[in-house]
């Protein structure tokens, strides 16, 4: 099985976060993205490649140019997980509140 890149790993890098913010506003070509950074075109390409691999970024061909834009579904998926995890914990802890209350009452 192919190991997939992890979204956390992808956004751990400040340049990659900056790229995401940049293209969140509008789809951009790799050249236009590279111009925004003080790093080489190759370095920026590598970052875009990582973002594409973990499906945070999608590419679209328009004429001769490739445009990169945010894959909002992936971002939502991620956000959804966080919300679900929080919700699960809340449910568990509310159950624990009840268990503790019962334990206290039984002690009396």
């Amino acid at each position: 099985m192919k190991t997939r890149r992890d979204v956390f790993q992808a956004i751990a890098d400040p340049t990659r976060r900056a790229i995401l913010l940049l293209i969140a506003a509008q789809a951009m070509t790799p050249n236009a993205i590279a111009e925004e950074f003080h790093s080489s075109r190759q370095a920026v390409s590598k970052h875009i490649q990582i973002l594409t691999e973990c499906e945070l970024v999608k590419q679209q061909q328009k004429g001769r140019e490739i445009y990169y834009h945010i894959n909002s579904n992936k971002m939502k998926e991620f956000d959804k997980w966080i919300a679900q995890f929080k919700n699960t914990l809340e449910t568990q802890f509310n159950q624990l509140d009840k268990v503790l209350l019962t334990m206290k009452n039984n002690k009396k």
């Binding site: 992890d6 956390f8 751990a12 945010i70 991620f78 956000d79 679900q84 206290k104």
Partner: protein
């Protein structure tokens, strides 16, 4: 009563870490027992409608808890928690991983660090969870903890910078 109890939940995505602070209206010994004794854990650990079934538990460093979350349909999702450090009524650490029914862990798992402190009869539990991989998170979603979730979509900036 419960409204006054703290519940903090923050995520640092860059370090794959979740921080949780939760207060409970009970003394330290009781809360510690609720997190470290099999018969109490099984009463609350699984979010309803799931139930928790501990097959084996020995709360000692190097030992483990092997348990299942059981769905209403009877489907069992096994997990293994290996205790790596224990300071009674203060802190314990464990490595948490999904497993198959024969106790083979599905690594990587996550590292849990739980601290307990009491003030005026209220016990605060601080939990740090590290190294959750995305694949593992997705597995949790598949496990069906979907009920009653209201999905809030934050702005992109918030998602990324939280």
């Amino acid at each position: 009563m419960r409204n006054n109890l703290l519940f903090d939940f923050t995520v640092d995505k860059t370090t794959k870490t979740v921080f949780i602070n939760r207060e409970f209206a009970a003394g330290l010994s009781m809360v510690w027992d609720a997190f470290t004794k099999q018969e109490i854990l099984d009463q609350w650990w699984a979010p309803k409608p799931f139930s928790s079934k501990t097959k084996f538990m020995d709360f000692k460093v190097g030992e483990r808890r092997f348990y299942a979350m059981v769905s209403p349909e009877g489907q069992e999702y096994w997990s293994l928690q290996k205790y790596t450090s224990i300071s009674p009524k203060t802190n314990f650490k464990m490595l948490n991983a999904f497993a198959d029914k024969d106790e083979n862990p599905d690594l990587p798992g996550s590292d849990w660090d739980l601290s307990f402190s009491e003030q005026n009869g209220t016990t605060k539990v601080s939990i740090t969870i590290k190294n959750e991989s995305l694949a593992r998170m997705e597995k949790m979603i598949e496990m069906g903890f979907k009920e009653g979730i209201t999905m809030t979509l934050n702005s992109l900036e918030k998602i990324l910078m939280a």
